[in-house]
């Protein structure tokens, strides 16, 4: 099985440093995953995804990547919690399943507990997630969305982040009856275990802490393994017509 991980950002030096240069091979090891993983970045688009405008800037390029590479893969993960462009990507994926890391994480969380708390990086990202969750019909099973107020590209102070997420998660468990935590940004990957350890020592309970990238890869594997296409009626191929498409340039955002 071959899976394509689309990181919906342009690859910059800063990002590479932040992500620790995780290529496909390292990803696969990190995720203990049986599938062959490939990583793709965008030919154009934002350097991080923190608002609706970023998502809209990324979506056309995500579709371009999907169109170019759909024939050589079995499924596609859009590796961002806000699920940018996934409905459009499904229309151009020729039946190959497309999954967003956010919807995968929320779905997995609902199978692990009753009521989830999403902790994300910024309030503005929280707003986007409210809109996505409303569309999925999951707002009734969520606590308030929490944020730690750290921009995506500044998520480098690991200790501070772990502390802040633990604090918000613990508060959600104690005052809003959360029983599952979801990290609301793929930039928080790798903090899940530490946060879970903290929550266990403070509450005495196993509180699952869902990492959206891992949930995304694993749920996508499941869909591909089921051998079924995405619905052709829900996501029909776009009709041919004139579309004046953008080409790559570089302007300040």
């Amino acid at each position: 099985m071959k899976l394509l991980v689309v990181r919906p950002v342009v690859q910059t030096e800063q990002l590479s440093k932040l992500a620790g240069e995780l290529g496909a091979k390292e990803l696969r090891e990190a995720y203990g995953c049986g599938a062959e993983l490939e990583v793709a970045y965008l030919p154009y688009g934002p350097s991080s995804l923190e608002c609706e405008y970023d998502e809209c800037a990324a979506a056309p390029a995500i579709c371009e990547v999907v169109k170019t590479r759909r024939s050589e893969t079995d499924g596609i993960l859009v590796d961002c919690f806000a699920d940018p462009g996934i409905d459009a990507a499904r229309e151009v994926a020729a039946g190959k399943p497309v999954l967003g890391a956010g919807e995968a994480a929320l779905t997995a969380a609902m199978l692990l507990g009753e009521r989830m708390c999403i902790v994300t990086v910024l309030d503005s990202v929280g707003r986007m997630i409210y809109r996505r969750a409303q569309r999925q019909g999951l707002r009734g099973r969520m606590t308030r969305i929490r944020s730690v107020n750290v921009p995506v590209l500044a998520t480098t102070d690991r200790e501070r982040l772990v502390d802040a997420i633990t604090r918000e998660g613990l508060d959600a468990v104690l005052t809003e009856d959360a029983d599952v935590l979801v990290l609301g940004c793929t930039g928080l990957r790798s903090l899940a275990d530490e946060v879970a350890g903290n929550l266990r020592s403070k509450t005495g309970f196993d509180i699952p802490v869902v990492d959206p990238s891992i949930a995304g890869i694993r749920m996508l594997e499941a869909l591909v393994g089921m051998g079924m296409p995405q619905s052709g009626r829900a996501y029909a191929a776009p009709p041919d017509k004139l579309r004046v498409l953008p080409v790559v340039g570089s302007m300040p955002g």
Copy 2:
């Protein structure tokens, strides 16, 4: 009051013929509207909006138009039933209200009756509308979405369209308890009165038939008249960062 009507497509000869070259002045007269209207087309994007991919192709250009012209207008209508890019457009509108013709039409319909039936052009557009309505929390007040199976750019056979919409609307009134009809495509504008007349003669009731463009203009006038900005907390201005933005080109879609 100055309002900007963004037609989220590139302007083509075919479209111009179809739309009857309605410029700002004609629009204003057609809508009997007190505000000063200006019409903008996209610098790049699709020639019509019929699927999620079209929407995603249009959204960045909509944002560009909004950024360029926000300072010279009091409010912006994205004149398409699928509300492409409105969340992103709100983030870059500097507080000026941005409204989609679809959400305006659904909102108005809910103030005119209890249960609405949306009749649109194509099944694939119906799918998009299901997703939007789910996000707005309105699916509980909708009948099944109907379509007449005519592509947007072929909506020229007026008589056939009026007949098909009447047939679907009547069926929704009689078998699903609809009491308001909503035309689910701005391409169907100008058919509303005729359909309403048909429904009146067949049911004996006034069944409002909401035209999304007119609803959009009028509801936007209302929001601007209230003198309030769109929420800066729901739609914060995008942070500065590197974004590799597309420039205009022309490739087959």
Copy 3:
């Protein structure tokens, strides 16, 4: 365009003083509104609306006003946040749109942000609003309803009111993720700008503060401008039959 503003109370000296004797001309100026406004009070009914009993005492007289004046107006606003009698008024309005200030305000708020906080005068009014919001299907997008515990006819200490509303609104923004505020009583009109200024200075964000009377007038203008009747199937004219109707008297409530 002629609009009728029904103030669903009997006109008393106390009220006149409170409302500053705003007649139709002043209203129009205050609302910067293009339509011709007329104001009507009730021939009988309560002197203020603070509970379900008040609403039920006002509703028949609202219908009488609508029946008497429907032929000389294009649309009718019931100018009270609790929307007294609007369903009945629609049935006797002969197709002319009838709008309640409460539903207008909630509708407008949903177009300006994601999650609203209603601040009203009394807890008992809050209960009525919960019921109305449930009927409109909007409770999922509301924070807890706040109140400042001031009776309608005592809303004269402007400074105290502004402070209390600001405090509740700020708390809703910070602890419940509100991004739009709605003043839950027409008696609070004219405080909106001040509260919005306070919230801006305390949060750094534009938080729209919706005044229900202004929202009501403006949304009604929009509906009338769309040129459509209220649904005759949702609001059919009452059949003729014996109804022993009350005549005006004056007893202590």
Copy 4:
């Protein structure tokens, strides 16, 4: 236990004939009920309830009856499927439980099966019931509301009514998965057993057919038997103030 049955109409000769002059004693026998029943009609109001306007014409008089007789009864049934004025009546009932026949029937139905079909007399009554059910949060468990298109005061052709209700109920069972039927008008009382017999012979299943008056009496007995007041916080007593109340007259509706 003493219960007051408020028939929210004025008593006319026609109605008396229709209702077979069921006084309190006969009612009690008909319902096999242990409580002492008293019947009250309205001092003014409509002669039947078929639209929102009728309900609004009845509500103030219902409150008057409740205020006059609350001290001599243990609970009050508003004996009409549309539940006119119940929220206001609760505020003036001094803690005595007030129940509407409609909400009682829907509540009982939900304890007898999974999905209910309401069959009522007129389409216009169906609209009112949609609004009430939305407010109770029960629309998700209802099929389409059916009607037999017979005015309340013409419900005398028993055979035709039973046939029409059976036909609608059967269709709801077979095509919409209904498993409980609710008679959506107190004027249909006494037809329940016959309809249930028909459904049993046609489907082979026991399909409960809920009569709203009986459900109302029995559920009210239950609430009174629990010995608890209606919530004083949800239904606080109306504050004293000037209310110009109507006195009885007689004008054509």
Copy 5:
């Protein structure tokens, strides 16, 4: 009328002491109930119900009791807030109404106020109640479920319990707009009046405090009084087939 109260536990000495040996006669007096009450315990199962596993251990024995005694009773109450096995019990009750104390209490609460707070014994029971309420569609009208963290079989320190329930209930009234309290465990029976008294003295309002056993008996009386079977389509009798059923033994759980 004969009603069977199934206490879904095995009868132990400890339980008998706790329940004060309330037999059928005492129950009837305690509940002021006109029906003839019989009490049944389980032949096998748990000694108390505090988690899903307890419920699943009790359910088959509940069905056995129902099958054995259905012909000699008019209705059956499963006297536990978690409503164990009620759907299965309905299928084997031969049309006799089966009610759970939990659903009865929630239903009654919704007729007494607008927004309820459930206070239960343990967090783990709260989880079960969240699931039941979701299935009944009532989560939108509930505050957070509160617990006092006392195991069912340790509910002997009356004063401490009353204090803890009062504290949680008061907090729900003041900070979450609750207006009805529901005791979320039949083990808390007999505390209702004291808690209600406390809430009255602290808030000045009558806040009903619903006891699930009393609500269960009274609502069941109502259903039986209505003379209707449970829906045979929603709860069809199980088909004959091989079922290897357990026989009673005694192993540590």
Copy 6:
């Protein structure tokens, strides 16, 4: 990875013939699954699951199997569409993920399309599924549940079944806007591909047809691969106490 597939029935000769004696090895090949699969039947319980009573008869034995074998597996699938006993099984699984085939199928379906139609064997099973879907909050995205009226143990006439499921599925696609089909019984496994082929040739669209057993295995693999326990707060281990547990016997059901 080791997964335990619990078939929640007792193993009979008839069942073995029906299921084609699929042992663990064959299952693994059939599902193309990387995990090591083991199959367990119940020590006591029903021979098939077609109603709530069957489920309740199966649940305690499911828990016994889980308790006995939890230490030697990484995750447990309860292989029945009605998800019998999964909440209780989670409490005794010591943190190992437990999944039901029904919830897995519904979850996967929601990631493949917008609106699903479940086709099951019997109407009575459809009732159970309505209840489960209500609990998961998914009823808003479902069409009416369809059934082909064939008992589980008579699902041997393959051709007739495929035809009936195709007919119902096609009707749901054309008249209720379904875009994903879900087979509502694990007894229908192996028909999915044929039905999907039929739907493709009749509609021209890829309509995914979800087999619950395959969805169950694959989604469970995903959860186990994520390396997270089920929430210890949502599913706390049952407290120690006296439970009189049944031992195996054999009586007619």
